[in-house]
Amino acid sequence: MNVVALFKLVPDLVEELEIDQSGTALNTDFLRLIINELDDHAIEQAILLKERSGARMTVIGSDAEGADDVLYTAVAKGADQLIKLMGDPNAVINNHAMARATAIVLKELQPDLILTGVQAHNDLDGSIGPLVAEYLGMPYVGYVSGVNVQNGRIVVRKEYPGGLIAEMEVDLPAVVGIQSAEQPPRYVTVNKVRQAMKTAAIEERPLPALDVSGGAAIRRMFKPESATRAKMIEGSTEEVTARLLDIFKEIGAL
């Protein structure tokens, strides 16, 4: 079985974010990138599957500062193949474009199962999992917190509100959006990662041409602004209601 884990790097919120002069993007001077937390869980889940059922595991991410560290750490944990997509890193905030491009690479790899984090804090146009599934014509299940292989299919645990948990069988190939792995992502020692760096190879592949249609265009990026727009209406219930109706009429809501 071939399992692929997809990851992306997102702005690290430990540092305060600043907006650059264009007003439509983050200032990258002090920006540090970190693996999307849920993608880290997707990698952990893939490693658990490999340990349990001997799957072959590939990790794919786009070229950005810190991508090599993520890839070498993954191989130190047990990944078999590392692929880095070389291209315009600014494009990663368009999931439609990234999903189309990644789908082209994935078709070639013919995976049985694709795992990715169910969401990321900088998803502007929906999460990438369902988009990848759509472009590959595969089924998708999201918000999953456990995957098992059974008789050529997978059984996933999906969490619903109110403490409900569903177990469902999914035909392969499929895409699964991971909410959390069955255990927290494991720690690998610095020495083990260093060892991996000496022996593992990262395959660099060109990122296929990006088609950004369907994505979001950023018009303005800004921090939450404080303003005093609230008006308190004084009086009896009748007076307040009458005044409210007038206001609704004034602004054309009625």
Binding site: V14, E15, F30, I34, R186, Y187, T189, V190, R194
Partner: protein, 396 residues
């Protein structure tokens, strides 16, 4: 999860490599003193002497299936009592933790601290850019080396908890106040400073320690100063005993030693009375591990109004606050196993001594002891203060 076959031979070689006197392991008498004095030895499947027995029996893989070695807080008590002078803490226990880490047998809370240290240079996962934020309101302004671009007499290695922990920042500000009152020409590294790495090393993450030492070493070499002082006994221990082994050698003192050397200048500044019975807790890495027992007591004795009383366990026999060797990052794990905190035992002893103030000299201790005080019956009477805070109070 255990995939590595560790035979006695390979493990022994690793210990040899990691410690200067590792070969001492061979001359263990099996007297059991180490396991007896270990504060959490009673909870360990394999306390130190049994670990050595397992090694000798070539049954080390059994050890890797257990997790109670993570109860070790590297307090140095075993090493201090060993008649064969075996480096139990930084040799045996640290190497066993290293093997557990490699085997993936690690409590998740510890993993987080290690991952944070690697990424942010501090175990708390705080922004490296904010490392000097505590100093914003200090006057005269604290010199940050990268901005000042001038030599200083003293480089103050502030440390992780003194930089970021809201409670410990009060100690840090007090140290700055005392240094300023003495007119010391000092500077700090601010965002350039990384964790000293000692507790990460003692938690078994040697590779991470080496990275942190490399970063700090590179930073030290950029600036001119005559000596380093530290707030944290763990940083003091690392820079004094471990950094030189990696080729980074500077004269270093704990702040209590530095201030004691300047007692003649300091004494006239201590104008305000601190009317209290004070008992002093010897931090493991100042006292037991490095023999600094007197300077903290001398400083306390110099404060007008202070009456010094000793607890039953003092000097080399001091109890541990439970924060060392990764203990700061294993509270949940250790509580599950022990249902007691080492800091509880110490606070109870401080209360029995009749003291109103429990004085400390390590940044791990103030929050740990204050937590214990809160949960102890009648503990509310006891005040926990770093020596620097008491000095600053007396300066006024």
């Amino acid at each position: 999860m255990v995939t590595t076959e560790v035979t006695e031979r390979s493990f022994y070689e690793k210990v040899l490599e990691a410690t200067p006197r590792g070969e001492q392991l061979r001359i263990c008498l099996e007297c059991g003193n180490c396991s007896g004095i270990c504060p959490f030895g009673y909870l360990m499947t394999y306390p130190p002497s049994r670990l050595i027995a397992m090694l000798r029996a070539d049954r080390f893989n059994k050890v890797l299936e257990t997790d109670t070695v993570w109860m070790c807080v590297s307090c140095y008590a075993c090493t201090a009592v060993c008649p064969s002078k075996i480096p139990l803490t930084f040799g045996l226990m640290t190497s066993v933790k290293e093997e557990l880490l490699l085997a993936g047998n690690v409590p998740p809370e510890l993993q987080t601290a290690l991952a944070n240290s690697q990424r942010y240079g501090n175990p708390q996962g705080e922004s490296p850019r904010k490392r000097a934020d505590w100093a914003k309101d200090i006057r005269p302004e604290v010199t940050v080396m990268a901005q000042a671009k001038r030599p200083v007499d003293v480089l103050w290695f502030v440390g992780d908890y003194p930089s970021y922990h809201p409670r410990v920042q009060s100690t840090t500000k007090a140290v700055a106040k005392v240094l300023n009152a003495l007119g010391v020409d000092f500077g700090i590294l601010g965002p350039d400073e990384s964790s000293d790495g000692d507790s990460q090393r003692l938690a078994g993450e040697r590779g991470l320690f080496e990275i942190l030492v490399g970063k700090n070493g590179k930073t030290f070499s950029k600036y001119q100063f005559n000596k380093i002082i530290t707030t944290d006994p763990h940083a003091f221990n690392a820079i004094k005993n471990e950094y030189p082994q990696l080729g980074i050698s500077y004269p270093v003192q704990h702040y209590t030693e530095y201030l004691t050397e300047r007692l003649d200048q300091l004494k006239p500044l201590l104008k305000h009375e601190v009317k209290a019975k004070v008992t002093y807790h010897d931090p493991c890495y100042l006292g037991r591990a490095n023999g600094v027992f007197d300077p903290p007591r001398t400083l306390l004795g110099a404060i007008p109004g202070v009456e010094l009383v000793e607890m039953a366990h003092n000097h080399a026999n001091s109890l541990c606050c439970g924060g060392g060797g990764g203990g700061m990052w294993l509270d949940g794990f250790q509580w599950e196993k022990a249902h007691v905190r080492m800091s509880d035992w110490r606070v109870r002893e401080a209360m029995t001594s009749g003291a109103n103030i429990l004085a400390v000299a390590c940044p791990y201790e103030t929050p740990r002891f204050e937590d214990a005080v809160k949960s102890m019956n009648g503990g509310g009477q006891l005040i926990v203060r770093d020596i620097a805070e008491l000095l600053a109070e007396s300066i006024g």
